[in-house]
């Protein structure tokens, strides 16, 4: 079945129920998810561990079958071989054929797309260069560190020059440098016009990278939209001021407008309750002849939003598959 192919990824009430244990107890891992990923965007799929992110991605990749609901990639139903030729996938904490060298490894995946010969060799060199692994092209994967595996894993996902790249927790387990490299790589993919869908529980990465995000909790979608919109929606609009040499008198005037004051010698950090207090606060500072060092509106972070959602949705704990 086909649908509107305006979206690269589209799901409608996508659900998955697993049967676990000896008695086949039903556990809902994904519960009626609606997602829409547009061409050329970086889309973050966020949620705590066990929220159903990997299950959703696996359904999209044809590794597990949905219990109910539907999904389309490039407007085509799941499992269509033509669709699979247009996407690349990096699973979570991947284990690869560790008896292969990087070159053999990428060669093997190339063959699965019908790539052979000089064209494939060139592509492999390009990819190894892109992920910074040229030095290890003839090294067996068993000798690789986790970061190196992640990088050849990404190279593997790009072997067919896919239009859609799906990465499951690409940053987890990497050191700060490794994470930055993956972030840069995702941005480079976006620049070259690819659509990137990645899951993560590291919210900072998502904030920096994503055009839009969806937040999933216990199998349900709790928020979805542009990162800035979500942040604005969730922000409490506090303003942070740093002031030098404010007299104790001035501070007494200022205090009613503030939420928090932190003193550090001559300098103090003042958090105003809301943006409405800014005008009044500045007048007090000017009258007290103190100097204003900085003024920062607090945007709130995805993390704040996330924690609020988690607390709002706290239900009795369930077993997760």
């Amino acid at each position: 079945m086909t649908t509107n192919s305006e979206f690269v990824v589209q799901t409608e009430q996508l659900s998955k129920t697993f049967r676990v244990g000896f008695w086949g107890k039903k556990v809902t891992a994904v519960d009626g998810i609606n997602l829409e990923v547009r061409p050329g965007e970086v889309f973050g799929f966020l949620g705590p561990n066990g929220a159903g992110k990997t299950t959703t991605l696996k359904m999209l990749m044809g590794l597990i079958y949905p219990t109910s609901g539907q999904a389309w990639l490039f407007g085509r139903g799941l499992g269509d071989p033509q669709t699979k030729a247009r996407l690349g996938f990096l699973p979570e904490s991947p284990y690869f054929y560790d008896y292969l060298t990087s070159r053999e490894f990428l060669g093997f995946y190339g063959h699965l797309f019908g790539l052979w010969g000089a064209g494939l060799d060139k592509r492999i060199d390009e990819l190894l260069d892109l992920v910074g692994m040229t030095h290890a092209k003839d090294l067996q994967l068993r000798k690789f560190s986790k970061g190196m595996l992640q990088r050849v894993g990404i190279a593997q996902a790009l072997i067919n020059d896919p239009e859609l790249v799906v990465l499951d927790e690409p940053m987890s387990g990497l050191d700060p440098i490794g994470r930055k490299e993956v972030r840069d790589l995702i941005l480079r993919l976006k620049e070259s016009g690819k659509t990137v869908l990645f899951s993560s529980h590291i919210l900072h990465d998502a904030e920096v990278l994503c055009d839009r995000v969806a937040m999933i909790l216990k199998g349900r979608l709790v928020a979805c939209g542009r990162v800035n919109d979500l942040l604005d929606q969730g922000a409490n609009h506090q303003v942070e001021l740093v002031v030098d040499r404010l007299t104790p008198e001035g501070l007494d005037h200022l205090r009613p407008l503030t939420d928090k004051v932190v003193m550090q010698g001559d300098r103090m950090l003042v958090v105003l309750k809301s943006q409405q207090q800014v005008g009044g606060a500045l007048e007090i500072i000017r009258a007290a002849k103190a100097s204003l060092v900085s003024l920062n509106p607090q945007k709130g972070s995805l993390e704040d939003l996330f924690i609020r959602e988690v607390e709002g949705h706290r239900r009795p704990p369930e077993d997760r598959a």
Binding site: M61, Y95, Y97, L112, F113
Partner: protein, 253 residues
């Protein structure tokens, strides 16, 4: 082409597996030791060399088929390597057949190496080599193909350890199924029906055993040989088809 790529990758995986070489070395040692053992017998040392030689090839080949074979699919699922394959434009049955073909190539190469070992021993001991020996070797290989298919079937729905146990059990039972028929003949109708059912369901591996023929210089007609090979091929095809059906429906989680 995709099946072939997966098969060649599987073959490469097997070639880099230390277990394979250990088994192969033991097989060759066993074949070689038949010379020493034959010295302990009076007169019949030709028969002993052939008997131990063919027996070793069969036994170690089956061990390779089972212990390397069960890793084929269950290990891929346990180690999640399959995630990257199934998300590529590869149908699940192509993956399965590729794995099967890869191990078949490995087993073929191993059978040839072990057979060469045996021929070397026979030549060194001045034992005459008859055509029957090659027919026996060919049927041993057909048996490997059946066992590998069975191992693959089990590994599509259970863990590596359980597949190994089940397949080993199938190998042992498969060599004893003729007894089921004999046993059933002495029972009432219902029991005989059930035993006959089991007899036809399980592979009759004793059919592939021509060791006695080689040792005792008996002949097997061409039509019998064809029938036995056809039986092996059909059994393998049905098992692989069933494995594909199970594999197609399975969730990888």
């Amino acid at each position: 082409m995709k099946i072939l790529s997966i098969a060649l990758n599987t073959f490469r995986e097997n070639l880099r597996d230390k277990l394979l070489y250990n088994l192969l070395v033991f097989a060759l040692l066993m074949i070689g030791s038949s010379v020493v053992l034959s010295r302990l017998t009076l007169g019949e040392f030709h028969r002993l060399i052939l008997d131990i030689g063919l027996g070793s090839i069969n036994f170690f080949g089956v061990l390779i088929a089972i212990f390397v074979g069960i890793g084929l699919v269950s290990k891929e699922i346990e180690k999640k390597t399959i995630y990257t394959i199934v998300s590529k434009p590869v149908a699940r049955y192509q993956f399965l057949l590729g794995k099967y073909l890869g191990l078949t190539i490995t087993l073929f190469v191993n059978t040839v190496v072990m057979a060469l070992g045996l021929l070397l021993v026979l030549y060194a001991q001045g034992v005459p080599v008859e055509g029957m020996l090659f027919k026996a070797l060919a049927l041993i290989f057909v048996e490997f193909m059946v066992i590998t298919a069975v191992a693959l079937l089990f590994s599509t729905f259970t863990s590596a350890t359980l597949s190994a146990i089940f397949t080993l059990a199938m190998y042992v039972i498969g060599h004893l199924t003729a007894d089921l028929k004999v046993f059933g003949a002495k029972m009432d109708d219902l029991s005989r029906g059930i035993l006959d059912g089991i007899y036809y369901l399980l592979p009759n591996l004793e059919r592939f055993n021509l060791k006695g023929h080689v040792v005792h210089h008996l002949e097997v007609s061409g039509s019998d040989l064809t029938l036995i090979v056809a039986y092996g091929a059909t059994y393998t095809a049905v098992v692989l088809f069933t494995a594909s059906l199970i594999f197609h429906r399975r969730d990888f989680r």
